[in-house]
């Protein structure tokens, strides 16, 4: 089976849902016309990233009559998509969220589990953390979604792998930082390094959409990627510039890689569970 994924590496307008929705619809239509099956947007793609006190004002409900999701769900009849937004739950807690939409339905919502609240980040001040990491079935096989800091921690990708995900869909709004003599920011090098490692260690596909543009002095570096189960870079979007980047993925690579390297077959989650339990109980 083949799957064409489109990485929608966009800039956003801070706090303007309507304007961001319009841009989504343009990129979604371009992706569909280009023959893509699935389009992946960055973290908080509908709202912008450094929201601070704008969080309650831009929170969305993923209901069919919500004006933003109504338009996206309609568009999802032609192509599957992952969009980033602020999810307000029934108890009015606000989450950084990604939604997988397909054929007019919300298939899965992931709430960002790890909210960076250090250095230049202050997410824990404004958002509630998610509490689950689950893979889900799509018409292209089983997938898992994570958001930025979620995949700086090794356990969420591991859990998705063990829950059956053969395609990891990562989104981020990663501020560029770290100068050196080399022509790549340290933050870009780090993310590429870890994403490639997940692809190789888990013998799985890893697609990552990062945003571009600026919010005050923060730059977002783009450079979205797809790695295959051998850890090979299939495609990379340009740094710093908006782009719709397509990648034709041969899903049979999973078969070939795992025949050669049976890391999934030999992984022993029961051992991991046993040892973690022992550590938690302090003996």
């Amino acid at each position: 089976m083949r799957l064409t994924i489109a990485l929608a590496q966009i800039n956003t307008i801070l706090g303007d849902l309507r304007a961001n929705l319009e841009k989504h619809l343009v990129f979604i239509e371009d992706a569909r016309r280009s023959g893509a099956d699935l389009v992946l947007f960055p973290e908080l793609s509908l709202t912008g990233y450094v929201l601070q006190d704008l969080v309650p004002a831009v929170a969305t409900l993923t209901e069919a009559d919500d004006p933003i999701f109504k338009a996206l769900l309609k568009a999802s009849r032609g192509i599957d998509m992952v969009v980033g937004f602020v999810d307000e739950d029934a108890r009015h807690r606000f989450h950084i969220a990604s939604a997988y939409l397909s054929r007019g339905e919300v298939v899965h919502i992931h709430h960002k589990v790890y909210l960076p609240t250090y250095g230049l980040f202050d997410e824990g001040r404004f958002f509630a953390p998610g509490n689950s990491v689950r893979a889900f079935d799509t018409r292209f096989g089983r997938c898992g979604m994570l958001i930025c800091e979620d995949f700086w921690h090794v356990s969420p990708p591991y859990l998705l792998w063990q829950d059956g995900a053969d395609l990891l869909l990562f989104s981020s709004a990663s501020p560029g930082r770290g100068l050196a003599e080399v022509s790549k920011l340290e933050s870009s090098a780090w993310v590429e390094h870890t994403n490639r490692a997940y692809a190789g260690l888990f013998t799985t596909f890893v697609a990552h959409a990062n945003r571009t543009g600026f919010e005050d002095g923060l730059n977002f570096w783009g450079g979205s990627t797809v790695y295959d189960p051998d850890g090979k870079l299939l495609v990379q979007a340009p740094y710093f510039e908006e782009a719709l980047t397509l990648c034709d993925m041969d899903m049979n690579q999973l078969h070939r890689t795992r025949a050669r390297l049976p890391l999934l077959r030999d992984e022993n989650p029961a051992l991991v569970q046993r040892e973690l339990k022992r550590m938690q109980h302090g003996n």
Binding site: D53, L54, L179, G217
Partner: protein, 274 residues
């Protein structure tokens, strides 16, 4: 640890040019104003602004005082000619002397601050006349050391070079082909004859940039900097300078009384809605 402040100038240039373009256009402007002293920092900010906005959209201001070095004006002109931008020259001598003459025996620090603040007034007046935002020229070294006049040379609408140490600004200047005469001369605020930054600070940029890199970027403790080879007196003086000048790096504190107060729990980026 080896301290290497080398940067990839191509990458830095791309980010800073796009930063200037983004922050000026989303504020509803297309133009910029730069106070061009003839020194390294303002030359780099000006060249970046030209790359971001086009030569026709950048106004360079030369604002000499009677005692300003002739070199300052000449070097500014070199860059103006090289970039092909509009420039205006407003001597600030009469404006400054009007205030300085009101009190006998005014210290040269006071006089220097008056000059720096008058240059700010001219820049902001020209900002309105030219419909351009004031692009800042303060580097990371002087921001951290507080080697700047509050509401004077530090005043701007956006600052592209504030996260680059002086030695890094010099690397970027070479990439931007700033005239060698500007890159090579000793840095000076040029507020009185013979003043140089390094003479006034008591240490060189090459030394202090390395120390600041350890203290700030690499989060070394002061005693670890001493272990790394810096003299204890130097480390102590720089740490104290950074602390004492924090007030220049933040907005003045508002006394909190209500449930929601600007600066504490009324939190929005400047780019809100854009």
């Amino acid at each position: 640890m080896e301290i290497n402040l080398s940067i990839d100038t191509g990458l830095v240039r791309k980010v800073l040019v796009e930063f200037i373009h983004s922050e000026i256009t989303r504020a509803g402007f297309t133009r910029a104003v730069v106070n061009l002293s003839g020194g390294l920092d303002s030359s780099v900010s000006c060249a970046l602004a030209v790359e971001a906005l086009g030569a026709g959209n950048v106004l360079a201001l030369r604002l000499p005082y009677a005692t300003s070095a002739r070199d300052s004006l000449d070097h500014a002109q070199l860059l103006i000619d090289q970039l092909g931008i509009e420039a205006r020259t407003f001597p600030i001598t009469e404006m400054a002397d009007g205030l300085i003459a009101l009190e006998a025996g005014m210290s040269r620090v006071r006089q220097g601050n008056i000059m720096a603040r008058l240059r700010m007034i001219v820049a902001y007046d020209q900002s309105e006349a030219f419909k351009g935002l004031v692009v800042g020229t303060g580097n990371k070294t002087e921001i951290l050391l507080g080697y700047t006049t509050l509401y004077g040379d530090s005043a701007c609408a956006l600052n592209p070079i504030g996260d680059l140490y002086k030695t890094q600004v010099r690397q970027l200047a070479r990439a931007l082909t700033i005239p060698e005469a500007i890159i090579a001369k000793p840095p000076t605020a040029d507020l009185w004859a013979g003043q140089t930054d390094e003479g006034e600070l008591g240490f060189t940029y090459a030394e202090v940039d390395k120390l600041l890199y350890l203290l700030v970027d690499q989060r070394y403790k002061p005693e670890e900097c001493v272990e790394a080879g810096f003299s204890e007196a130097f480390v102590r003086a720089v740490v104290e300078r950074i602390r004492r000048n924090q007030f220049k790096r933040i907005l003045p504190p508002v006394a909190k009384l209500s449930n929601r107060t600007v600066g504490y729990d009324f939190l929005y980026l400047r780019d809100w809605g854009t």
